[in-house]
Amino acid sequence: MTTTVRPETQEVGTTFARGEPPVAAVADRGRGRRPRLKSVESRAAEQRAGRTVHLGAGVLALSVLADSALEHYRGSFHNKAMFAPLVSSTLSLATNAPAAFGARAPLPVLDAVQGAAAVTGAAGLGFHAYNISKRPSGLSWLNLFYAAPIGAPFALALSGFFGRCAVRLARDSKTLFGWPAGRFLAATVAGGLLGTAGEAGLLHFRGAYHDPFMVLPVTVPPVAAGLLGAAALKPSPGLRKAARVSLMATAALGVAGVGFHLFGVSRNMGGFRNLSQNLLNGPPVPAPPSFLGLAAIGLAALALMDANDE
């Protein structure tokens, strides 16, 4: 493959909204450096990172779709608003998935769908908080365990948020909301990992950590979050490498978690023969892949940090 050095012009990123200033000028802000000449490899890496963010957001959306469908079905859709996350996550998935493979919907559409997901997720947090507070004993361990799960809509909000980040990266792979793209993404993924680990930790606490493997989602992802956060603060190849490894472990955990949860379902009375109860009562099978989605975005963040030389 030949490497052609091209000056940074409108060609950086194949599409962007009409009327936007050239990316180079935008990238200049806050960095105080002259625009660098980019290699094709570097641009390819950026595009890959962008697509990976779409992929991660899509995995989050899929996890939310399946999880909210199961849980809201269990909740009998007693409030019609409970259909919203299913619709929103489906749209989010439908737009993130093709984008992950390079076939993007028009950016405004993508942006709108992702924005809606973020808003729906945020609204969900409100609904869930209300559901918890209106029960006897309000904000209590009992209701945190059994009322609407406090952190679950967070995953939808994250899916929407990261989807929007991916859209912005398509226009400008250097900055996100004014911050260096890679480091911003890393910091937000770290936050996302901590929140998701917290939710898993809460529900594993409800399960009394009866199985030693249940400590994995409250140890591996927080470590990854810590390393990712540190890598966001301090440019160091060593930290990035450690973060990369821990993120891959987190991704693996996201997959293994499905297996563990299926095992948990089988351990209930009647096992898979009693699926109409056990799929709903047992550990939520669609939940662990949210770690996979976040880990993918975290890896993309690291790639961006390298590609953008942050």
């Binding site: 361990w141 365990f145 409800r206 399960g207 199985d211 209930n268 009375m269």
Partner: protein, 550 residues
Amino acid sequence: MPESDDPLVTPRATGGRAPDVFRPGGWTPMRCYPENDEVDFAIVGSGAGGGTLACKLAEYGFSVVALDAGPYWRPLEDFASDEREQAKLYWTDERIVDGENPLQLGPNNSGKSVGGSTVHFAMVSLRFRPEWFKSRTTLGYGADWPLDWREMWDYYREVEEALTISGPVNYPWGPKRPRYPYRPHELNAPALVLAQGCEALGIAWTPTPIATVSAPRGQSPPCVYRGMCVIGCSTNAKQSVLVTWLPRALKAGAEIRDLAMVGRVEHDDAGRVTGVHYHREGRWRFQKAKNVVVAGYAIETPRLLLNSASGKFPHGLANSSGLVGKNLMVQANQAVWGLMDREIRSYKAPPSLALTEHWNYCDDGKDFFGGYAYMSQGPLPVVWSGVLASKRGLWGEPLLDQMENYNHQVGLKMVGEFMPQERNRVTLAEERDQYGLSVARVTYSWCDNDRRMIRHALGFMRQALEAVKARDIFDEANDTCHLNGTARMGDDPATSVVDADCRTWDIPNLWICDGSVFPTVGGVNPSLTIQAIACRTADRIRAMARRGEL
């Protein structure tokens, strides 16, 4: 061994093996002791007292044979989802009840199974209020226990761990206790109603600490919320003695003999017990033992001691105080019921998922001694129809109409501390049972304190239901639960039957380890306390053995 057996007819724990309750058709090896071998301990009854003690003593290296009149159930295969069928769990042999307030026995309080009444109990696992161990001295009624609550606090912990109690993260009353091993269960609708009522009245409530698991534990799956706890748990989520202490006991070398009705405890001329006569597989047999523990619960224990009367002990064994059979205490189990507009469907999940112990710890404004807790309820159809028919007096169309409101019914049921009264007692009746043994006569009358407590509780629970807008509220004014007191513990042989170590004063190698030993009954379900006492007794026995005092 017969291939297809009826556990009610053919003993299962024979020939070196006992049922493995966790594996359908499975067996676990069991050490068998020849009858002529003088085992260290022959324990009569394998329930909360006897089963726990059998486990602990076997684990401490003693040779133990536990004999139970009941069958050795395999819950996964034997337990049907049907009230009428499951009456097989209860003590249905003849007993006579009289007094001013004759007791209702059977499903209320008397099991006949290996694992005792814990096979059908509602799993509510509560600690005594510390002051109750010194009721007389600290609260001015009843009698003091010769036990220190701080010591019992540790034993409660041991039992809670052994039963993997699922309980709240923080318990609202009493001194600090360690966190329950598992988390509480989700509240069902009747429990939510209790909670709302308590909040409306400004008192604390809690998810009930309960002996069924909220997450997998060993081979027990988590509770499936089928709501049939008191007719037998068919999933083994319920942590009865049958699925907790007894498998451990077998592993530690204890022998369990099912369908073994002990009819008489034998003693020698020196006045020491020598073993037990028991009926099994069609004939009477004798097991030699260095020590005998009677753990048949508060009716069968005094009945056996009285039936073991002899020339040397004409008033029955261990009865120099004259108190064997006396001071029978049940607990008030009155309830208030109402109808909600919303669907409650109380048949789902364990009956008592929420409770309040407010009136156990608060003494303000009480015109009675003692305390009571109250909890949510979930009666199954036959039991509920009995409440509406026999207690509320409905029959014909009015009964059918009211029963149709089943899914809207909600209730609050108390567990209240009745006072010890010597006139409440177990004696021997003229009638004889199928083994030729004198049948028990159970005499019970409420005292004024009992009545005042009931009035207070019915009034308060009614308020709690009114506060949540229940309608058609009515009182279930006559119901009792549990059995205690008929071989009370004390520090004076003149006023008690056993000492703090559950050893009878009269006969040094005769012990009593069940609910009979309670001097007072408290306002909480007794099972946790019975098991804690058994754990303590095992420790004391081990200490005594080491010092050569056995």
